[in-house]
Symmetry: C2
């Protein structure tokens, strides 16, 4: 039986591996866990003893198959609980993270599978992130930052990168939601701000916002546009 802390480290390493394919360095983990490098070293050693990560001094850690499975199950629980809070208890998506951080450590397979069924087997959570199945598999969606799209390309918003309360509230205010179709109308070369059309409404977003909106990879062919010259 793992402690909350061990589970949190595994989850952090999992997320880091997703971002960069390589192993997670001590410092990267420390930043993610908001702790000190020396504490991370201790924990990596312990997780290595338990065969949950492969750890080599001065070279960071990689999840073992066992570690990956546990990390995925923690993420599964986190995302199912978030879905519960939003869909059943009417929480808004910026309120659920901290509570799910606690709920993800509740130990009961039966509980989480019952919850899954109760929610009718959702495949993504309220933020658009995929929910791993019982075996830890999840449909790893291909996605790109909205800021990489060219003018006239459009795609569907699948996830957000930053999930701070501030950003989530910004999205609510602008009525931007997971699943919305977003079209890039024009890109201002000076500051890279983007004129977008979202569900019919047209307005401007900054480059920073565009870098935190992840959309489906759009079809490679641009829609043909009549040239006027």
């Amino acid at each position: 039986m793992l402690s909350f802390s061990e589970e949190n480290y595994l989850k952090a390493i999992y997320h880091i591996e997703q971002l960069q394919t390589e192993g997670a360095s001590t410092n990267t983990v420390a930043k993610k866990m908001q702790t000190k490098a020396s504490s991370v070293t201790d924990m990596l050693q312990k997780l290595a003893d338990k065969r949950l990560v492969v750890y080599k001094k001065y070279q960071g850690a990689l999840l073992s198959a066992k570690g990956k499975k546990i990390a995925a199950s923690v993420i599964r629980k986190h995302r199912l609980w978030e879905t519960f809070l939003v869909n059943k208890l009417n929480f808004s998506w910026d309120e659920v993270h901290d509570i799910a951080e606690q709920l993800e450590h509740i130990k009961s397979e039966k509980l989480i599978d019952s919850l899954d069924a109760f929610l009718e087997f959702p495949r993504v959570d309220p933020h658009g992130d995929p929910i791993p199945d019982k075996d830890g598999n999840m449909t790893k969606q291909k996605k790109v930052m909205l800021s990489t799209l060219k003018e006239n390309q459009q795609s569907k918003l699948v996830t957000i990168k930053d999930s701070s309360d501030n950003f989530l509230r910004y999205l609510d205010k602008k009525q931007i939601a997971i699943g919305n179709t977003i079209k890039v109308i024009a890109i201002e070369p000076f500051d890279k701000s983007i004129q977008v059309q979202i569900e019919g409404r047209e307005f401007m977003i900054t480059e920073e916002v565009a870098e935190n909106l992840l959309v489906e990879i759009p079809s490679l062919t641009l829609p043909k546009v009549k040239r006027t010259n």
Copy 2:
């Protein structure tokens, strides 16, 4: 913010106070918490420092108003989660205790109040125990052991004392449920076993079982019975 352990101690003391009106002795708490007396002493000292209990060396502890409120809120959470598990996720009543022991420590007032509303403000949990309201008040039902009833008396099963899996499964097997009307048909003087009629079915239960079934205090007057001599 209290630790899980501190919350568990407060809850244990609360339950002990309910049973015996006096303060909780070190040993009683140790037994309830399945720990050693010396550990209890340490914790009582700590809780006293935080003004959650009134503690005098060698004389046990009593909950302060603040301590009582926290204990009641933990019990509220426990019982609401049990209700959720049984009513929404279709757990049986013997499966919910251990999971609720974990869930009761989740910190979020909004969560628990939303859950309360989602469950439509239940007043008792699946074991028949009253659920404290937001302010920690609960309708303290008056109840007695079934074994204290006389022949021909009848009453309604409101709670059980022992809530071990074994006992709960026994009750399921015998189809005894909270709310059932139970009538004492006859008491065997030799072993104090009791012939009962429960929801129309008549059978025998041991004294031990009768001591763990708590029923409403029956009306004081016995139903009149025709004398045959």
